[in-house]
């Protein structure tokens, strides 16, 4: 089982909020800056790797029950976005790696993608 805590080491990431979620399991992941695509492809208990740092990322995560968001290429979201994440109980990590490299590292570590479309 891979947990959010394991991702910190794999990605050399730091935790911006949601410490209490670190032992939750990560089953699949999705990397995208396009929330429209995230909405079409994500499954349960997913994590999202993105370079987009606006509040819509959190709203999209809320709809999909995404419990962990990783901001790539050293991006740190504005304070109000982090506040929203805290309110929603979403764990937020930040890594210096690009989205491409972060996804590669996680895939290599055994986290599968969310390739099947959601829905009926």
């Amino acid at each position: 089982m891979i947990t959010i805590r394991d991702l910190i080491k794999i990605l050399d990431a730091k935790v911006l909020c949601g410490e209490e979620k670190l032992d939750e399991e990560v089953r699949s992941a999705c990397g995208s800056d396009l929330m429209s695509d995230v909405l079409a492809f994500v499954k349960d208990k997913s994590l999202l790797i993105t370079g987009l740092t606006n509040v819509h990322v959190m709203r999209t995560a809320e709809m999909l029950d995404i419990h962990c968001i990783i901001f790539a290429r050293g991006k740190i979201p504005p304070e109000d976005v982090l506040e929203e994440a805290k309110e929603l109980g979403i764990c937020v990590l930040a890594t210096e790696h690009t989205t491409y490299v972060a996804c590669g590292l996680l895939y290599g570590a055994g986290i599968p993608g969310t390739s099947k479309r959601t829905g009926a």
């Binding site: 429209s36 606006n54 819509h56 709203r59 709809m63 959601t118």
Partner: protein
């Protein structure tokens, strides 16, 4: 006679990017409290969010309505224009007329309507240019 047990309506303003998702979040939280299964709830939330975003990005304003009966949840998106001239084109994946502003926020992939259709158990769209668009989506819960 109305056969629903709950009927909530949420107004959605055009270009209200800041509050995008508020209506869908309220619907999701309410249905969660009512004990709707989480997998069904996620489908409802995604469809609702896509409809809400379309109202904000493409319409002149409208409302999102959630009706609950003992067996189903019905989501209705209703707006006051501009309407869709070619519905079958709008339903194609990748077709989008979203503004630069919407794209910058991470939307405008032309995935919303197909995604609503995929997530809902029933999907019905009617539209008239100059009048408005109505979308009705049904979800079985029992």
């Amino acid at each position: 006679m109305a056969d629903y047990i709950i009927r909530d309506s949420y107004p959605v303003q055009t270009a209200a990017y800041e509050s995008a998702g508020d209506a869908s979040a309220r619907i999701k939280r309410k249905l969660k409290q009512l004990g709707i299964d989480s997998a069904i709830l996620r489908r409802i939330a995604v469809a609702s969010y896509e409809a809400e975003l379309n109202l904000i990005i493409h319409s002149h304003g409208g409302e999102l309505i959630m009706e609950m009966t003992p067996k189903s949840i019905v989501l209705i998106s209703k707006d006051v224009g501009p309407g869709i001239a070619d519905i079958s084109q709008a339903l194609k994946e990748g077709y989008s007329t979203a503004s630069e502003e919407a794209r910058d926020l991470g939307f405008g992939a032309g995935m919303g309507l197909p995604n609503m259709k995929r997530n809902a158990d029933s999907f019905d769209i009617t539209s008239e240019v100059g009048v408005g668009t109505t979308i009705q989506m049904g979800f079985q819960i029992a």
